[in-house]
């Protein structure tokens, strides 16, 4: 019988186990050590079967002492072995931090390359299974901050295998963060045999045009689920699986952001000084965002509570990610007061970024003396279309209750820019037709040209970030009918 050509499906934990077994078989220098990794096969069973297969000399049960687990791992690596240590829960890793950040990360640098520390430290992180504050934490920000250390966080079974193999073969220390909820919840194709996923490369998990989500671990899967529900609403989200958290794949991240111009970072780690802060800074410095980025993360509380309702309330999930993405995309979309009539707009950054102003022109019947009439008509039109009497801000568009029209009646009485709408009126001495500019902080500028035979061209410009192009026309039509109605009366 030939080998079945269909690729197997494995869970993440099975993929981790396969990578460890394959590498131990391939290279005698590879040894595994940690708490309960021997006969028990690890509390998550990542090392199941290895003790029987490779014996107690290469699969070593360590005392419950994280400092020395990390410390001897450093020493073994400096001697040229390829130790793979397991810290049972990421919550316990801080006792090992001195050896990871103070030693492993610095050995090569501090010795001018004479020594190296090719070690791997695997640990299970992440919440969502009622583990409470000491079995649920995400610790990536502490370690991704340490130059000299590499940090990977696979989300899929194939990456769990390929990144672990890459980590074991890497000449530098690598921290492998395995999200414990993915261990059994995520099952997918895993290539057989020698399979290496290069460290430092992200992957496009889902292609899209409207926004980029950067995520990893279980949050990748939640983000993908959120993206699927948004697709039904016509919002097309790109999801990048970071896979390696240090060093970041800046090229892939910026390539995606240059396309979508919108960024949403999702992580279970707490928000302040989390990985999202670095990713937002990366995007900001590169100048690739059209709107402010969004972070979906744990609030800044000391731990993840065990209570079902409370844990669910603090961890990001597909619903909170979806909400954030809607805000992010709506922020940028030109919105009409009647959303159903927004078809025909060009949707996307090219339209928005190219011309911040939208303008329209209409011919109106009105007398030489018309300032009062025009102001009244503007108030009428603004009330009919409140979005034209609004202030754009990155945090959202603020619609005003009062209509404040600032008059710019020429050089003698220039506008002070205090209203939401400026009426620019050059009267008989002015030109027939010109497009006014919207002042910063205002939404619309309406210019009445020279009156010829009781008729004038009226041009309206709006801040297009707040006002749909189609609404300019509607606003001006309301203005025209109001002016002409009064005049006729």
């Amino acid at each position: 019988m030939p080998e079945p050509t269909v690729e197997r499906e494995l869970t993440v934990i099975e993929a981790v186990r396969e990578a460890l077994g394959d590498e131990m078989a391939r290279d005698e220098r590879v040894i595994v050590l940690g708490e309960d990794v021997g006969k028990l096969g690890g509390v998550f069973r990542a090392t199941e079967g290895l003790y029987d297969r490779f014996g107690p000399k290469r699969v070593i049960d360590m005392p419950m002492a994280e400092t020395v687990i990390a410390g001897v791992t450093v020493g073994l690596a400096m001697r040229g072995l390829r130790p793979v240590a397991e810290i049972q829960f990421a919550d316990f890793i801080h006792a090992a931090m001195d050896h990871l950040v103070g030693e492993a990360a610095k050995v090569r640098w501090r010795t001018g390359g004479d020594w190296s520390c090719p070690m791997v430290l695997r640990t299970a992180y992440g919440g969502g299974f009622r583990g409470g504050p000491y079995h649920s934490q995400s610790v990536e920000a502490f370690y991704a901050h340490a130059p000299g250390l590499k940090v990977v966080a696979p989300s899929t079974p194939a990456d769990a295998k390929g990144l672990l193999i890459a980590a074991i073969r890497d000449p530098d220390p690598v921290l492998v963060l395995e999200h414990k909820r993915t261990y059994r919840a995520i099952r997918d194709h895993v290539p057989k045999g020698d399979y290496v996923v290069p460290i430092g490369r992200a992957a496009v998990a889902r292609e899209g045009r409207d926004a980029t989500v950067l995520a990893y671990g279980m949050m990748l899967h939640e983000s993908l689920a959120a993206a699927e529900t948004l697709a039904a609403d016509g919002i097309d989200v790109e999801v990048i699986d970071l896979r390696t958290l240090a060093p970041l794949d800046r090229e892939m991240i910026l390539t995606s952001l240059a396309k979508t111009r919108r960024l949403c970072v999702v992580h279970e780690d707490t928000i302040t000084m989390g990985l999202g802060a670095e990713l937002c800074a990366l995007a900001a410095e590169a100048g690739v965002l059209d709107v402010p980025p969004v972070r979906v993360a744990m609030p800044d509380i000391p731990g993840i509570p065990v209570d079902d309702v409370l844990e669910d309330a603090v961890l990001p999930n597909r619903a909170t990610i979806r909400d954030a993405l809607v805000r992010l995309v709506e922020h940028e979309r030109s919105r009409s007061l009647n959303g159903s009539q927004s078809h025909g707009m060009v949707h996307g950054q090219a339209y928005d970024a190219a011309i911040p102003q939208a303008s329209s022109i209409v011919e109106v019947a009105l007398p030489e003396e018309h300032t009062r009439v025009a102001v009244d008509a503007l108030v009428h039109a603004a009330r009919a279309f409140p979005r034209c009497n609004a202030t754009f801000a990155w945090t959202g568009i603020v619609e005003h209750d009062d209509v404040v029209v600032d008059l710019d009646l020429g050089p003698a009485a220039p506008s002070r820019g205090l209203g939401t709408i400026t009426l620019v009126d050059y009267g008989p001495g002015g030109s027939d037709l010109a497009i006014p500019f919207v002042r910063p902080g205002q939404t619309a500028a309406v210019r009445i040209g020279a009156v010829r035979h009781d008729r004038a061209y009226v041009a309206c410009a709006v801040d297009h970030r707040a006002v749909d192009g189609a609404d300019v026309g509607r606003f001006l039509a309301a203005f025209k009918s109001a002016v002409e109605g009064v005049h006729a009366g």
């Binding site: 040894i31 000399k57 290469r58 360590m62 005392p63 002492a65 400092t67 020395v68 990390a70 410390g71 001897v72 791992t73 450093v74 020493g75 073994l76 690596a77 400096m78 001697r79 040229g80 072995l81 130790p83 001195d98 050896h99 103070g102 030693e103 610095k106 050995v107 090569r108 640098w109 501090r110 010795t111 001018g112 390359g113 004479d114 020594w115 190296s116 130059p147 000299g148 590499k150 890497d170 000449p171 530098d172």
Partner: protein, 314 residues
Amino acid sequence: MTAAERERAYRALSLARALDDRMWRLARAGRAHFAVPCSGHEAIGVGYALAMRPGVDWLAPHYRDLAALLVLGMSPRDVMLCFFSRPSDPNAHGRQPYAHFGSRALHVLSQQGPQPNHCSHGVGCAWGSQLLDDGSVTVIAFGDGGAQKGEVHESMNVAAIHRLPCVFVVHRNGWTQSVKREDQYATQTLVARAAGYGMPGIAVDGMDVEAMHTAASEAIERARAGGGPTLIDAACVRFMPNTSNDDDSRYRDRTEVDALRADGDPLLRARALVEPEFATAVDAENAALADDAAAWAEAQPLGDPATVADHAYA
């Protein structure tokens, strides 16, 4: 010790003292950043370094292990490159201050700042010897201040469980910078701890190079034969302040130190082991070596900023 070993021991003790004196004066004169004196500790390191197999056994050194490094083959010029923090320093390449020793060629594990994190590195190194079955032994040296850290407990425990081929040597000078022994541990010595881990303990006069050599030889050969680790409690006196940044007049009486020094200086005691003419000649030779090394190393170039990020990763 054979007559030849005694002469080697004296040569190393004398050279360590000569370099120590030069470094102290140069640091005080502002010519270098940092000196870490080893005077009073020299016989401990000379004792175990002479008992080690060169190029086979490994040392996870104490930061006062200059004398041991000289026995293992580090040159005075390399010591001074380290002292002047030059990029050509084979220990730390201008990236760590003096006394952060390390040499792959000499089997000296690169040493770090936080004490004594190298204990577990040494245990890992010894574990490597066991796994590779290469017959090598690792000597792990640290101070009695460092010995109060959980790192040492965890390391000794693991070494004992797996009968790893290593020897723990505590340079017990009774001070942790400014804090005296009574405020660091409640016992007079640390040797009783060995029994708590199920390993032999040896208490030795660490200022007697012969006694130290005997103790180290016994422990190293036991480790090599598969008998597991030993704890050696080596008593000594720190003759100088903790480092060139320390002012020990604030916490201890210099006259007491001077009395202990007059009484027990390991260099003076080792003079009795060799011919007086030999000692005098070696002292003069070493003074010249130290002067040459200091002048030569100080003249070596400082680092190139373009290389500062080199070796962050492979």
